[in-house]
């Protein structure tokens, strides 16, 4: 009992660096219940870690889509870009 209280106390006092690691670990598999509860609680009160978690999870999803995206195309200038540039050139030199 004392051991688990100590463990809970340790987890609750962890600095953001450790919570960031938990956010990362959670992407690789389920966290132990105590860590999960502590992380959820911390995210409620820490805006920086909340932003971090949101962004890390987003990137985790985004990088998985990279392989289906080919390399940058080598097409010419898009028409809308050409139109905008032409308009600006005409403003300067009618």
């Amino acid at each position: 009992m004392k051991k688990s209280v100590n463990e809970a106390w340790r987890v609750l006092r962890m600095p953001c660096r450790e919570y960031a690691a938990l956010v990362s670990r959670e992407l690789d598999g389920p966290l132990p219940l105590l860590s999960l509860a502590a992380l959820r609680t911390h995210l409620l009160v820490c805006r920086s870690c909340r932003n971090f978690a949101r962004q890390i999870r987003f990137l985790h999803t985004a990088v998985r889509r990279l392989p289906e995206r080919g390399p940058a195309s080598d097409e010419g200038m898009p028409e809308e870009v050409r139109g905008r540039l032409r308009a600006r050139m005409n403003e300067i030199q009618p």
């Binding site: 953001c16 660096r17 962004q55 998985r64 990279l66 940058a72 010419g76 200038m77």
Partner: protein, 189 residues
Amino acid sequence: MSRPEPGSLDPTRWLDEHGDALWRYAIGRIRRADTAEELVQATLLAALEAKDRFRGEADERTWLVSILRRKIADHVRQERRREGATWAGPEFRPSGTWAVGPRRWPTDAEAMLAKPEFWVDLEACLGKLPAGVAEAFVLREVRQAEAEAVCGALKISAANLWVRVHRARLLLRRCLAGKWAPDRGEKGP
């Protein structure tokens, strides 16, 4: 390629005749549509200002591309200075609190995924990861290989793989934050 008289230089004709070439040159080096557009525009403006000095010694396209090349070099230098500031310093203080707290990104996830610039930035940031970290991250996260297979291929332990992947996540997030919403100097709780 044409070698017109200096008096006949015309920026809208440049767009028609050399726009594609300038665009490919810029996008091939910068890989961001918005920046490429700015650089091509800056090139055309600089060429317009300098057109009286164009003597037709080089052909027109070579002349324009040489201006664009200088604009790109300036841009890359500026960018490197700016990013140097964002990448500098550790992510956390020795106490474990954020050195620079992550700030909310201005665009929501789906909108970001729809922006071509996001993917260019993501690839650029991937390209900046330290080699050992990048290799592990690409195998595990991008190609989604099994952890055991990645450990085997790189001859590293599971713990070391996790350290590398975690490091890559931190660096990638920070690199993208530098482009989308620089982190602020905020303390953790």
